[in-house]
Amino acid sequence: MDQFVLQLLNGLDKGAAYALIALGLTLVFGTLGVVNFAHGALFMIGAFCAVVFSRLLQLETVTVDPEKLTPWGSPMEIRTPLVQAWLGDFGAFLVEWSVPLSILFAIPVMLLIGIAMERGLIRFFYRRTHAEQILVTFGLAIVLQEIVKANFGANPIPVATPPALSGSADVGSWIGLGSIYYPWWRLIYLGFALVVVGMVVSFLRFTTYGMVVRAGMEDRQTVGFLGIDIQRRFTVVFAIAAVVAGVAGVMYTPIVPPNYNIGMDFLVLSFVVVVVGGMGSVSGAVLAGFLLGILQSFAAMNEIKNIIPGIDQVIIYLVAVVVLLTMPRGLLGRRGVMER
């Protein structure tokens, strides 16, 4: 039972990451009709926003104190982060909580990058074939990755979890079971993902702006005839997708130290997630993300691996193949979108 709860949490956690990336992918596909292979790169850029932010906060002054000596006999160097020097305790607080705070930094950055990407490149590819869209965004992803690699090196860069959250929570005692420990940060990631998904979905469902966007997804031409600049709204949706991918990357940095390649690892999986959920369907992407995440972590259990060896390696793709062959539109795909 303990194992079961633990794997369920693991699966929900993996699923949360898949769902957040797939959400943006499917939104972009549903609105602009573009298959965006550079979406993983947006996740990666988000993660590096966190790296940059924490490095900015940790700019420090080094003063040599001739009075004190290190155990090796050389003069002691005293390092104080500038923020701490200026702001005192509040500065120390900023340094400790750099990861969650860098969301505030990442949102405007990702908005700008998203709009620049859409206006600068994607809009010229609305009418090109999907193959060409895949190829040009793939090229863009390579370029973005290489730029990051040139500036930050190829090694993963660890980013510290806020110390208050670096421990584990006793999840078991909450639900009346024995002690099941699970890292706080992963629980927070799960909650964060749910909040973000909820925000995007309610934006689309309950605001007039979102309603118009959904109308545009159904029938772009008619909405255009009604005098609405649907193009501008779709660009905004692209920027939102970029922000979602970016903040997903920011929050993921304490779990896996980011390197330039982190987006690509997620991209392939989240594409599978989008297709399983149904191209262009937001709820489908979220559902499929969590479903595949949970399946993947259960398949990694030893009890299951002993029955079917290697299942943990292929389960996601296997499910994708079965779903695609039996349900042509994916789990929750809309009628008429990419049916063939």
Binding site: I134, L135, V136, G139, I142, E146, A150, A320, V321, L325
Partner: protein, 377 residues
Amino acid sequence: MAILRNDLVRLALFALVVLTMPVWLAPIGAAYPDLMQKIAIYGIFAIGFNILFGMTGYLSFGHAAFLGVGSYAAVWSFKLLTMSVIPAVLFAVVVAGLFAAVIGFVSLRRSGIYFSILTLAFAQMSYNLAYSVLTPITNGETGLQLALDDPRYLDAAFATAGPGIPPPNLFGEQLAGLSGFFFCAVLLILCFYLAMRIDRSPFGMMLKAIKSNQTRMAYTGFNTRPYTLAAFIISGMYAGLAGGLLAATDPLAGAERMQWTASGEVVLMTILGGVGTLVGPVVGAGVIKYFENIFSAFHEAKLHEAFSFLPDGLENLLVTATAPFVGEGWHLTLGVVFMLIVIFLPGGLMEGVRRIRGAFTRRPAGQEERGRLAPAE
């Protein structure tokens, strides 16, 4: 130019250009056998990929799986049968073909992006399995390699074993250096000829019709499935041949050959050269492999050397400007070139050639689009 329309002349020209590669690649520093071999092998891979993508219109994102399977098959043939490359390559082609038949049978039920995802899923499955459960066959992360105590039943039956691991050979001739290149080059020419025959045949016409409008084909009463499956298998066999040759020139097979980035690479080659053209994929493969080997070997000191004829200030400026694009950063060059090609020259380098030729013969470029098919709307 009319004489160029003749297929035999084209073939002869192609053969001439391929076989004289050691001569004309020498001035640009690429005439070493290892690189030329790679160009020829990936040329074969790309020609095969083009039969599926360029002619039939199915974008497979998992083609590297066949390359990997071909490599494993060839190495196993070396280990179990003989060090001769002929059975190894044949074995690679057959195994890859069978593998392609299975995957194609399932994947071809869907088209468009779903087909791409299905092939991607199968390739990733093969890759993950090769790393984990199939380790007895693939030797996992180390990669499958030859060992002293391999049985090599055929060799053992006919000759006494010498000391050490024997190298792969072709009728006793050791395949190393230039002879390895010429072996690959001859096969490349054969493959090119075969692709050309397919392109000109009724079967090839059918494939192009499927790319152009599959629904219409179905309405006219054709069952398109056998044709697409045949194209998929042929293309998988090409990939298997390329994989077998990779193993024949360097008897080591690793799972990373099956990763999806490797599948992406062959897509890049085909697009860069020109989708749907016969020569294009080979050109693309050559350009990418050349860039990979030459650009990645560049570094700042070499750049200073290259720009040394300029005044110092300008030299330093140019070196700083170009340094991120070479050496470690050659992928950046690849990405940029690739984006530029897709944006401005969707037909690849071959379209560029056609446009230039069109400008000289003072005919609108559109008329040169002979044999290229646009979807009928």
